[in-house]
């Protein structure tokens, strides 16, 4: 389109501009009425309105009414970041019977009212909205790209998250492949015994869930297996899976529950490693966590055999499972046990040393307080002769039934001592006369910073969670990772189980520390999201892909050379004006929409739909418009 034609078109459209107060978030710093008045006068803008919350039903209704009444045919909403509500407003436009791609977003909260103040904020907001309106004037209705979607989902990880996501998907009739790296199903839950807050037996939960999965007609399980390559896109992923030979200890003709390993599916395992391909429509990543491994010497860990982690205590108690006045661990009578909270969690820069790769776990692992109290109560209940001390920074027993455990522990005679992070307890060898192998020196803030010594036969470190290392998957699938190294969802509240890459979902503790209930919530949400995506048999992709203007294209092929995704662009023969010519042609489902082709076309014959070069130029023109006007007056 020539520039003159574009200008003409811009003015032929009727842009509606809707400016949000965001309940004061925007309007406390930006004079939204002044912005509205200024936009009203912009050529091509048919109406400019304001609303307290544009994302609310009445706000969206404003847009729908104007579209239905023919008042506007292009829409700009000036509000928060587009990551939050661009989709909301496109959907509102769709519901009003219009094309959702006539929409442009102006970000005047995160990029204006939250960072600028006073008249300058209003001025900048108005300019950004003018730029958005200039672009909107050049937008064309677009048709989403419809691609068929494989009616199949892949779940990576067979812990409680992966198992319940697989079951939920399969129950909705979607065939599922579950890929588990270890020889068994159940993940970390299989390494627990009685779980808080209900006291249920973890092996029973794992067994029930794994049975449901292994016996489900729609689920295929591969253990000792990993995804080693990925390709494709939403609805059409291609995965390469590698399955190793199972070690003898983990093979058998029948499925079998192995304590502290999990559910081993029925054989046969391949006689040599094999690789195979999977075509799948959606992926649920459920790769879970690993327990923090204390450093050598951290609270005496590695220096003294009587310093163990909480997972080790849980296992030893379950394996012993006897009742008697005193707890016995490794044949030793435990008269006094000290449990230290927050080991490897809530680390503070400057206080805690970084690990070998320079990292600190600054987050709270959320499950260890409750798990520690759970173990303490169990010890007091079954071995009343054993004294229990808990040394903590804060007790975080969030969630139903968990605070009760804290109260129960206090009632059962567990002694609590509270320490400051910069005055961490010290685990040292006791004097021979003390009668105990270890003692813990602690400055207890509950007794106004008295220096106390706790005698101990056993010290238990409440180690926190770290995400499993999935850097290979992160790299292959372009998954975002937070500063805490857990996988990062699109939005923590509005889209909590989606990854930014379409068709990939996240479930369980690979995303953040969760307990089993929360893990199952997340898995259920991910399964429903994936199932509804695949239910239709096709998916719609945003049509922001390259488009060739056949009238302008001279077939130079520069675009094909610049294209970054082989197959997305090709020179093909076609008939134009009775002549056979070679012209560029786009395969929309393969086009990444990056625009590498746009920059190199000598004829300006290729553009990315919804973000054309002339649309960007129009935005720049709007941004410099006041300078141009000032120049004209000089």
């Amino acid at each position: 389109m020539t520039q003159a034609k574009e200008k003409e078109k811009q003015h032929a459209t009727k842009v509606g501009v809707y400016i949000c107060h965001c309940g004061g978030n925007i309007s406390d710093h930006v004079d939204v009425e002044a912005v509205r008045r200024r936009l009203e006068k912009v050529p091509g803008v048919a109406v400019a309105r304001t609303n307290m919350f544009m994302c609310s039903d009445p706000g969206q209704e404003l847009i729908a009414e104007d579209l239905k009444n023919g008042v506007v045919d292009r829409v700009v909403v000036a509000s928060c970041a587009p990551s939050l509500h661009e989709t909301t407003f496109r959907n509102a436009i769709r519901r009003a019977g219009a094309n959702p791609y006539i929409y442009e977003h102006a970000n005047i909260r995160e990029q204006v009212s939250w960072v600028h103040h006073g008249a300058a904020a209003t001025e900048k907001a108005a300019t950004l909205v003018e730029a958005a309106a200039a672009k909107a004037g050049l937008l064309r209705p677009l048709t989403p790209i419809r691609v068929t979607a494989a009616r199949h989902a892949t779940v990576i990880g067979g812990g409680v998250a992966g198992l319940s996501a697989a079951r939920d998907l399969a129950d909705r009739g979607i065939p599922v492949t579950l890929v588990e790296k270890s020889p068994c199903l159940g993940g970390q839950l299989a390494r627990l015994d009685r779980i808080a807050p209900t006291g249920e037996r973890a092996p029973e939960l794992v067994r029930a869930l794994a049975d449901a999965v292994l016996n489900h007609p729609h689920i295929t399980v591969f253990t000792d297996a990993q995804v080693i390559a990925t390709d494709g896109y939403i609805g059409n992923f291609k995965l390469t899976v590698r399955q190793e030979v199972a070690s003898e200890a983990f093979t058998g003709t029948e499925a079998c529950y192995i304590p502290f390993s999990g559910m081993r599916p029925a054989g046969p395992s391949p006689s040599e490693p094999r690789e195979f391909n999977l075509e799948t429509g959606a992926i649920v990543v459920a790769t879970g966590f690993r327990s923090y491994e204390p450093r050598q010497g951290e609270y005496g860990f590695g220096d003294f055999a009587s310093v163990i982690t909480l997972p080790t205590l849980i296992r030893k108690m379950a394996e012993q499972d006897t009742e008697g006045s005193f707890l016995e661990i490794d044949g030793r009578r435990i008269r006094s046990v000290a449990m230290i909270h927050c080991v490897g969690s809530r680390q503070i820069p400057g206080i805690h040393p970084e690990d070998a790769s320079g990292r600190l776990n600054e987050y709270c692992s959320r499950t260890c307080c409750t798990a520690t109290l759970n173990a303490a109560c169990r010890i007091r209940e079954t071995h009343p002769g054993t004294r229990v001390y808990e040394l903590y920074r804060d007790i975080r027993t969030y969630g139903r039934g968990q605070e009760e455990l804290y109260e129960q522990a206090a009632r059962d005679g567990v002694v609590f001592l509270r320490f400051e992070p910069d005055q961490a307890p010290e685990v040292v060898r006791a004097d021979p006369t003390d009668g105990y192998p270890l003692k813990i020196r602690v400055t207890d803030t509950l007794t106004f910073s008295e220096n106390l010594e706790v005698p101990a036969d056993l010290v238990v470190l409440s180690t926190g969670m770290e995400p499993n290392d999935v850097s290979d998957l992160v790299e292959m699938m372009k998954l975002p990772v937070g500063v805490d190294r857990f996988l990062l969802e699109v939005h923590p509240k509005l889209r909590p189980v989606e990854m930014p890459v379409g068709g990939i979902f996240v479930a369980g503790t690979c995303q953040a520390p969760f307990d089993v209930g929360e893990t199952c919530n997340a898995a259920g949400a991910a399964a429903v999201k994936a199932a509804s995506l695949l239910a239709e048999g096709h998916v719609e992709l945003d049509p922001f892909v390259a488009e060739v203007d056949a009238e302008r294209c001279k077939g130079s092929g520069a675009c094909v050379e610049a294209c970054l995704n082989p197959g997305a662009l090709a020179l093909v023969e076609m008939q134009i004006g009775g002549q056979t010519v070679r012209r560029a042609q786009v395969t929309p489902a393969l086009c990444l929409g990056c625009g590498a082709c746009v920059a190199v076309c000598p004829e300006n014959a290729i553009d990315v739909c919804g973000m054309t070069l002339s649309q960007y130029e129009a935005m720049v023109d709007a941004i410099v418009a006041d300078q141009v006007a000032a120049d004209a007056l000089r």
Binding site: S83, Q111, I623
Partner: protein
């Protein structure tokens, strides 16, 4: 086409990638960290879309500085970053040929949580566009 060696105003254009730098700028907003109001951020899928002339046109129109905030090596489009870097080299050549201060165009990588890096970049560019650069004629020749 010649470009004024000195900008008319002091507006800074930021071309920010939708998967890294743009959410990065939003994260600065979420932290309520202020930065100069003359910074205008455009969301782009990949800055490799812009031809050489786009940058020169922006300067000609009166944009004082451009920061291309890419995803760097993390770019979701394999090969796009290198193509972009080569293109900007050619823009620098053209800027030099026209006697422009090449510091007015900057390529950088900003991640979704690089708040400090974002603020550094825009503040540095702002300092540059506020004062006439050394060795540059103080008048317009466009």
């Amino acid at each position: 086409m010649t470009v004024p060696s000195q900008a008319k105003g002091n507006k800074i254009l930021v071309l920010a990638t939708e998967s890294c730098a743009y959410p990065g700028a939003d994260s600065v907003g979420q932290a309520h960290s202020t930065y100069p109001t003359n910074v205008y951020i455009l969301r782009v899928k990949a800055p490799v879309l812009f031809p050489e002339r786009f940058y020169l046109d922006c300067f000609r129109k009166g944009i004082a500085g451009i920061i291309v905030m890419s995803c760097g090596e993390e770019c979701p489009y394999d090969g796009a970053y290198h193509a972009l870097a080569r293109r900007l080299d050619r823009v620098y050549q053209a800027m030099k040929a026209q006697g422009m201060d090449i510091r007015r165009l900057r390529l950088t990588a900003i991640c979704t949580v690089c708040n400090r890096a974002f603020l550094n970049e825009v503040n540095q560019m702002n300092e540059l566009v506020q004062k006439p650069a050394a060795g540059e004629p103080g008048q317009e020749n466009g």
